[in-house]
Symmetry: D3
Subunit: 340 residues, 6 copies
């Protein structure tokens, strides 16, 4: 498979054990993650060739972040070292009516201080067919948005497919700022991915009659959102994940996809959650992998939904599943019987 | 907020990790708890001023118990040091059809040996508006019942509101003994709190047609219980928590409250449980806090139920939630969506 | 109670913590287990007299396996020491749609190299009334099948009741090989136990219209299987456990039993699973214990199903429950209310 | 080897991890131990036949204590179940200049409430050749001293060798009380064991010119102590362990033995300590085992000192070493080279 | 005892377990610490009245830092909440020839952004007799230096004794910058404390003929340093701790003190180290406490050195020892014998 | 730096925590290691380019071993997947007089079943300058010895430098068998490395007057060994590590090197050990790296000894140190002072 390149931030993730809260913790579980890094790991896990581009500090934490990516097969050769710190996020796992809680401590991270010209995108994209980023990356600062623009322009010029997970983060920027920046970037995007809120927050395109806090989703509304995104930005494909949040433990999970011609609606999974962080990234990673592998769109969507369903059962941001495991679920065996 | 004082026992709580049983454990998780201590922590967590009164041994375990209370903002200045030991309880977490199991090892604890005259209640109640105790405290021995009587008499004399969580413990005393002792103490009580069994065990007031072991509860029966408690003991308010035990993992949770004029019935939560110990105490803590803060009775009940619903999702006896988190749930967002 | 003897392999079991996968683990939780060892522990736990026969290496791992059995009251005096290694199995706990995964590393284990004549069955069976083995043991190799044959012949000669849990393992042998070997052994068996797949895999007796991967089970079909097993092999009793696998977390669990005269169908439990490995062994252990204790067949079946329901709530292969705990559940209290 | 019987208390031992203090701990490591139990485990570890006699409560903690003994091969069939609680001790591991600290919570334990007549010593001593107890047991109360007297009288009558580790515990009794009680019991003792303080505390026999708090020990003084003990109580043998405490981490360790004819002085070990609790018990266990195995007195002493040296390197009260490992050290290989 | 106020930064401290390096860690141990916070905890531990002043973010990490201080008895009422983040430091424990390694991630912390006027020093110093800060605080930025100047001026005006631990941190400022800032602040200082390097780094006063990397210290040189500090800045007292670093495990530890009249040289301890971070703070805390308690200067020095010797044996920044434990060591018992 | 290739076995390493023994463990710490893998990681850690060649099973354990190598920067592209199992070794950490103990469970591992022709050595050695193996690899079986012969022949043909760490393992082969096999292989070796025992065990070349079990080493004897190795096998260089084993905690560590012209004797370190497994491999890794980097032989030796000294302070087989850290120690700073 040709190379996929993703670009963004990787953070140290620190979580209290089990369902403890931060004020109770006397140790924190360590892993590393971030939207685009998670996508790269997904693809590498299935046997694909994925490189992740970022900047980390030249200290043991930056090294450990790189090591964590290498461990799971991601090509880290383009990662720069320098700057002041590695971004951190603290994650409390929710339970039942208590939501999971993320405390970000990412300000001043090395990647957030990167300047245009630091990455040699032409070299990075050598041998690559696909570039992926999320809305989090340009939200890190105007400088990072400018670097993202360099990246998508180079990608387009070199003929790569460009995908973007809209991924709105309200603590990083306002809807107005997001719309201003993302409108520029989306010109270079072929495939947009979003969850049930992103299109509204980033582009003001609202699905009719859904309320994400009650778990009631209106499928027809989301079809309209997809249609409008394709229309407005001349996209080749839009995929929208649909999470029905009954509680921190129980979610419905499915997605729809519009390829400019047809609508596809995936199977819907009822998930009892272990760790839902990275669920959307696992969807994006699955979709990119399947499309690059030449799956029919319908199958690519099912692969992506099955993959991201499985992500909810695995601790950490990364989706440690094999292609075979995803295929088994996608083909209908959700019985959870012991595999000996 | 004026000060709330609670009085009772704090114990070292030791639990095997996860769902292991005591015979499997090679380490035990440490926390500290006890009915009235849990109430004090709840109130301190919301930003209230709460003091806990007890006696602990002058050794590292007594110190650790005090430290644990201080850590979560409780005023510990009135705690006496002396006596022989800190009470302990061992807790195995149940799962599905297997119930949680508590092994008490509290006999001979410092507080159980306390004598009338040891506490200077007039000084303790300086600046306080509320005194809370539970039926566990007088059950520790006639001496402790006598000290409790000192406390409620002083509280009444100084104009404090007095609340009591009936909290019947069959391994500490018989129904007959409980009725004898509690009948004396309840003369000084303004607000009684109980679960679906307490009124029957302590005062012989039984709800018609409920069976706690099948999870079937008869709301009308509990209204009669509340009415009868108010009538018989001239109480200002009675609140009854209603637990529907489907399994060790899944419970329904709600409450009703009668203020002598109207009945209020709370929202009902379906909870997938992390740790249900301290659930009733979280209800009492929420109710006292909300009433002291001037909430309408209806809202105070909803605050208390939402607070105690959240308690079931947090490991340990203490309810580590903020006022804002309770308000969010009370106002209807139970979706458990990640808070970033 | 007279002695029960079981014979088979005990393995070191290594599991990543919680729901982590093997590629994530930096420590592994240790326990020991194996079908027949698990049965012996169940019986010892209820207060019965159970001996386990196997061969383990003369090294600290073999010693630790013996220690683990002794700890839970099993008579280990007949265990041989020698050979090259202790078998190991790695277990990843599944969650929701992700199945549990077992990686066996048992080849070359001491017991798999045992030769006829190494065990003195006449001495081992002194004072015993019951011998139990599973289909796993003869599957370890022709040599072990030969030793198993020695055992059942000696058991029959000495008048013991012989039970066999068919327990087909596809990674150990083919259905054809299983049928060839098991057909010889079952001549000496009084009571056969199986799950919803075993009779088909081992003897080609298929239940009509069930699909284990969808959780749809056809009770009538299993009655036919039981009838056919009794008929074909002249058995005194056949018990079949019926697992409805909705997901790795949620299973239905029940059993049916045919004693040659009547069919008994047990209560059905909806289980939220902690650890399902050893569930079938807990059923066998409960059944053997209850029958030896003189329970009526109907009650023995309910005891076995309640016992194995509880097993699903306990980490590890062994069923750490008391007779009293099983009786409480069997008599209908599945409310999971805290036992203080 | 014929059976050794030991009698005393087994406690739940709870320790903060590493060098943490109790006020810092959020989990405690679990093991079980007690002077006489530790001796029984030592002997069982070497392959000897050892039974431990005590009383534990009929609850999961009592069961866990029994399980821990069974796990390491001790015969627990004579242990009574009943009474109120299992004794507990909390152990903080010292480091460098900071001493280890033990907080006892053993009051009211089941064994401390035992009454004369509860144990059938004639049955217990069937097949036994040796009975061992320590000064801790009679210190638990006059009732336990009376039961100990029953035991030693029965042992003498049945021809067992009786050994006693003087083991003075200042928090259990005064020197005066100890002397009164122990003077009666020592009439039935053949072999006394003590550390550098015991003879003085229990019998007022002081070694000249030693100061245990500076680590300076005067060997000649201890010879006089041994001589005087043999003379005064007509003992067959006296062994005294000599600990030179330089710090919580570094101790010198050796022993001397007087058999009424000759003095033997052991090799002296410089130990960097992992866990020194149970060091004296490991000495007693090694000495008893070696004497029963027919070692020459000189070799028995060296075996006991080498065994107890190794105990200092193993976490927990129990001495998990094999006979071969002790022999290797006793024969001079203290190089600590990796054994592959 | 009258109140001591300390002012500075408290950080989240994260350490890999045992002697692991950061690149190996999959969990990090959590504690909280910082020079002045550590001093406050020391004093509170001995029973003194200590308040710590800082600013932490209004998030769960800021709350957890406050909780950690409250837990160990420090008055936290003057701590401000706001700003962006809690400073963090990562600590790898060294071993033998490998040094401990600290990775600071404190930039942008709430306290580092504090502005003059935010603290009401007059209110804070009500009832206080002593103010303590370290050279780390003004090094956080000119704004923090200005706030520190406010504090020392207010303290002087209100008649408090002011102490300063010079504590030079090369990653926070240059010697030139330190000298410029500290020269202003030291005008208000009564007692200066430093280690073997600080006077040189901060004021250019070098001890003759010592080399800290070889562990060779020249006592006479340090006497000259103390004399010069007193002379130049008109101090009442100077104390210098003397660390002889043989390895990451083994250090010599002692101190000298000059009170303007006499030189005092403390006992010298050979320490096998558990955790040396906070050793200097434990010295300062011990010295302040002892001086406030009216110890003779010679005894205060010995108390401070014994206290800080013990700190090296305890995990974490805080010195969890009691006054009694320090007195015992100070009076000469360094044998490390178990305290039962 | 040009590429170094190493060839051998990587095993799953399982250790009880701290100083626990295997019979006590209820969890095992996981890492991966093996002589040649450890060398590859050392070189990658310093920034060199290192590939490791082996065969692992196509299961999660094989994947985890590969991941562990990738994590630390080793090129794993030539690793084959197949065969039956991953070798395992269990390691108990020794303490003081108790030696560390290794229990191997490596029989039947995938690499031990490899056949000549499976590896394409010409392709593997493309771009490589150095090939390293140890005496463990050919000891795995005649087939593996044959593959090793393929490797060294290809390496010689392609002009690589070949180094061999003799590394005699008595549980894998006899001295006679070792000598027969190694004599063939050493024809292709340029640089031999050994410890104080290897030359004797493998080639019968004994150092005069040393006794490894007492820690007494005779330097002159080892010079003779080096001289004889160079002479007999026409080597370019021989390095011998010299371990003085005082105890499991304390070792002296140094090395000597003979380059056919001069003898070099390294600095000698007194190490207080954390984990000594992999010490020799860290020496080899340091030596190869330094020689490839063009260090003078004297400096290369000092680099190798300093590097391996540091290895003793780090848990696991791998030497997680940077080039800078080694240089600092090599240049004389062994003070262990905190690096901030």
């Amino acid at each position: 498979m040709a190379k996929v390149v993703t670009f963004g931030e990787i953070m140290l993730r620190l979580s209290p054990p089990g369902y403890s809260r931060l004020v109770q913790a006397d140790h924190l579980e360590v892993t590393y993650g971030g939207g685009e890094a998670n996508v790269a790991v997904s693809i590498a896990n299935y046997g694909g060739d994925a490189a992740f581009v970022t900047k980390v500090p030249a200290n043991p934490l930056g090294q450990a972040a790189i090591n964590h990516l290498r461990r799971f097969g991601v090509d880290t050769r383009y990662i720069l070292r320098g700057g002041e710190r590695l971004g951190i996020y603290f994650l409390e796992h929710g339970a039942s009516q208590r939501p999971s809680k993320v405390v970000y401590d990412r300000k001043g991270s090395s990647i957030s201080q990167v300047q245009p010209g630091e990455f040699n995108w032409e070299e990075i994209f050598q041998g690559a067919k696909w570039f992926h980023f999320t809305g989090i990356t340009p939200a890190l600062g105007d400088n990072v948005a400018a670097v993202t623009l360099e990246a998508v322009q180079a990608a387009k010029k070199l003929g790569l497919t460009v995908s973007c997970d809209l991924n709105y983060r309200k603590n990083l920027w306002s809807p107005a700022k997001a719309q201003e920046t993302m409108t520029k970037l989306i010109q270079y995007v072929d495939i947009a991915i979003g969850n049930e809120e992103d299109a509204e927050k980033v582009f003001g395109i609202k699905a009719a009659a859904s309320d994400v806090t009650t778990g009631q989703l209106n499928e027809e509304g989301y079809r309209q959102v997809a249609l409008e995104l394709v229309r407005r930005f001349n996209l080749k494909m839009v995929a929208i994940t649909l999470r029905e949040s009954y509680s921190a433990f129980d979610n419905g999970w499915s997605a729809l996809l519009y390829d400019g011609k047809e609508f596809y609606r995936s199977r819907r999974y009822q998930i009892h959650i272990v760790d839902r962080v990275g669920g959307g990234d696992a969807f994006a990673g699955g979709l990119i992998y399947a499309l690059m592998e030449g799956f029919h769109v319908r199958d690519a969507l099912e692969f992506a939904v099955a993959a991201s369903c499985l992500k909810h059962t695995i601790p950490g941001d990364f989706n440690h599943v094999t292609r075979e495991e995803v295929m088994t679920l996608m083909q209908g065996d959700a019985s959870g019987r012991v595999q000996r």
